[in-house]
Structure formats: C-alpha cells, structure tokens
C-alpha cells in the first residue's frame, strides 16, 4: 500500500478506536455502550493486525469482542428495565478536571516508559533461544516455555473470575432468548462442527504459526455459547465434586504439575528438559485450550449452574 494511504488508514483506525472507547464509557444508553465496546474489540483486532501481531488479533476478536460481548449483552438483558438514569445536567467540573489530570499523568508516565524500552526489544533474545523451545512459533515458545509462569497466572485469573461469578448465585433462567427463532437452532446445528474444526485447526497451527491454546479455547467456548443460545441443554453442572470442576481447573493443575515436576527432577521452576519440551508444550496446549473453553463457557452461565439441569425451567 502506498505510505500515504496506509498512514491515513492507521489514523482513521486510531481515531475510531478513541471515539468508540469514549462511546463505550460515556453513552447515556447502556445498549449503545455495549455495542460500542464490541465494535471497539473488532477494530482493536484490526489494529493488532496492523502491528503485525496476528496472535493477539485472534485472541482480541474471539475473547474481547465475541465472548465478552455475548456476556455483556446477556447481562444487559437481565437488568431490570428501570428507566435509564439521565446523566446529571450539572457537570461536576472539579471531578472531571481531576480525572483528566490523572489520565494525562498516567499517559505521560506510560509514554516515558515506552520511550525508554530497549530499542530492538526482546525479539533477538527469543529468536536466539527458539531452537531449544520445542516449537517453531515464537509466540507459543514465549507463552508456554520461556514465560510459562505468566500464562499460568493468566489461566488462574480466568479460573478466579469463574469462581467469583459462580459464587454470586445460581444460574438465572432462561438461558435461551426470550423470543425464540427457528433460525437459531438451525444455525447452531450447522456451525457447531465448524467451531470444533476451527478449534483443532488453531490448536495444531499454534506450534508453527499464529494460533494456540487461547485462540482455540476462545473459539470452542464461543461455539458452546451459541449452542446454548440455540436451545441446547448445557451438560456442565454445578454439582459438588462433579467432573466439570476438574475440567475447569485442568489447565492450571497441569501447568502447576509441569512446573513442580521440573523442580523435582532438578531443573529450575518451569525449565523443561530440552528433549521433552515439545511433548510438554503439546500437553499444556491441549489441556489449557480445554480449560479455557470450559471457563469462558462457565462464565457465560452467569452464576453457578444447578446440580441437575433436569427440571430446570426452560431446559
């Protein structure tokens, strides 16, 4: 692309992102906010593509726009339809000025920090160690080998979020849209195999190209949400000691086991033996994808599911 056209495109994208962020946080109508947030996620994915980061773009589109969007919309549908509160006519200027000053300070500090980053970044260091990583895709190498500890914490955060959501109360009903449509079950039936196919494709691709556990898990979780919206009864139950609790924590448990067994055989924490790295990463990738899919799906249930769905209204 001609440099001028590509600069114009980037400027347009950045401007649209700022405007949508403002809309998402300041629109008087909550529905408008949620839609702005979803569009923000999609444009953010485009921005990551422009920055040559297709892995983050995939994750942003699937989790940021897709799953979070569905979560926000379903939460919005359950809010009691109280008349929308009109924003106060009198603006509180001192508060606004304080917030703007704080935002400007944080922006300046972030800018200063970004300015002082070592110029070529860590790309060369990662590339130098890639032969020992056990995979060909540098992003997967960083996520599941060099910085596996960070990934453990990320999946841990997801698990904590689901624990928090389940502790808020039982799953509210109905799970299906209030106005049923014959098109939705047909769509669910038609697309579910595509979701499974895309999940395996992304998982397999993760070893040598953009893709991996987070993207695959997000796609599978989103597919599960679609099937539930189409009227299928979820098999995930909130039974005490039920098998689903193990599946939800599978990712964290496997990563911790991998980390602890490396210390047991005399390596450092999370330092896989070079010969076993490929196998360990494959196991971690698959278990993490299953766990992430289940966690995103469980979060969408908006509360602890019942021990048995039989007899649950609308199921």
């Amino acid at each position: 692309m001609a440099p001028l056209a590509s600069h114009a495109y980037d400027l347009l994208l950045a401007g649209a992102l700022l405007w949508l962020a403002w809309q998402a946080t300041h629109a008087a109508d909550l529905f408008r906010s949620v839609i702005s947030f979803i569009v923000f996620g999609l444009l953010m994915a485009l921005a990551w593509i422009r920055l040559d980061a297709p892995d983050i773009a995939l994750a942003e589109a699937a989790i940021g726009a897709g799953v979070t969007g569905a979560l926000l919309l379903s939460a919005l549908g359950r809010l009691t339809s109280a008349p929308a509160e009109k924003p106060a006519a009198t603006r509180r200027w001192p508060g606004t000025i304080a917030v703007l000053a704080l935002a400007a300070t944080v922006l300046a500090l972030l800018g200063a920090a970004a300015w002082q980053l070592p110029a070529p970044g860590l790309g060369d260091a990662v590339a130098g160690h890639m032969p020992r990583a056990g995979v060909d895709n540098p992003v997967t190498g960083v996520l599941l080998n060099f910085r596996a500890f960070d990934t453990l914490l990320e999946i841990g955060v997801l698990l904590l979020a689901v624990v928090a959501i389940w502790s808020l109360g039982p799953t509210p009903e109905p799970l299906v849209p209030a106005i049923p449509s014959p098109a939705l079950p047909a769509l669910g039936r038609m697309l579910w195999p595509m979701f499974v196919l895309a999940t395996f494709y992304l998982l397999w691709r993760g070893t040598h190209a953009p893709g991996g556990a987070f993207q695959a898990g997000a796609v599978l979780g989103a597919g599960g949400i679609l099937v539930i919206l189409a009227g299928a009864r979820p098999w995930l139950t909130g039974e005490d000691n039920g098998p689903w609790r193990w599946l939800l924590s599978l990712g964290v448990v496997t990563m911790l086991l991998a980390a602890l067994s490396t210390t047991l055989i005399g390596q450092r924490f999370f330092e896989y033996p070079e010969s076993a790295a490929a196998g360990v990463i494959l196991v971690l990738e698959i278990t993490a994808a299953i766990s992430i899919a289940m966690l995103l799906f469980a979060a969408y249930l908006n509360g602890q599911p019942p021990a048995r769905w039989r007899g649950y209204p609308h199921s």
Binding site: P177, S181, A183, L184, L187, M190, L191, M194
Partner: protein
C-alpha cells in the same frame, strides 16, 4: 499487471459500491426492517465480490477457498442475525414503516 490481477482488482472495486449502498441504507432508511434489508443484501454481495476478487488475486487455491468459506459463514451469520433482529423488533411491537 497480469490478467488475473486486473480481474481481481476489478472484482474488488465492483464490490465497493454495494458496501457503500448498504451503509447508506443503514443510515438513511426509515425503520429497522428497511435498514436490515439494505444491510443484509448490499453488504453480502459486496463482501462476496471482494472475497472472490482477493481469491483470484492471491493465486492460491487454498487461500481462495478460505476466503469463500468466510463469505459463506458471513452469509449464514448475517441471514440469521437479520432474522433475529427483525423477529425481536416485531415481537416488541415495532410497526414496519408505511403500515
């Protein structure tokens, strides 16, 4: 430029007016049903032409098939989405324009 590049570019350019008219309909039509009509028709034809154009330009059968798959998925999704929105609007008592 080779013939396939010309053909691909021509198809992509041919798709743009459809997307523009779909957007124009979304902005200017009077109610939710007519807006859905403009959007679901115009955008899908536009996207189809662009996907076919890009597929021809890529010169690779795999890429072309993937682009076609994207188009088919978009067709299914937009048809379902438009139906859901229209059905919900009708159930909420929104009268079609002119009735």
């Amino acid at each position: 430029m080779t013939l396939t590049e010309w053909l691909g570019t021509a198809l992509v350019i041919a798709g743009v007016p459809f997307l523009l008219s779909g957007t124009l309909g979304l902005l200017r039509f009077p109610d939710v049903y007519t807006r859905l009509h403009a959007l679901a028709k115009g955008d899908n034809v536009g996207l189809g032409l662009i996907c076919v154009g890009l597929g021809i330009q890529s010169g690779s059968v795999t890429v072309a098939l993937k682009l076609l798959l994207i188009w088919v998925l978009m067709l299914i999704a937009s048809a379902t989405g438009a139906g859901l929105i229209a059905r919900t609007a009708l159930a909420r008592g929104l009268k079609p324009w002119g009735l």
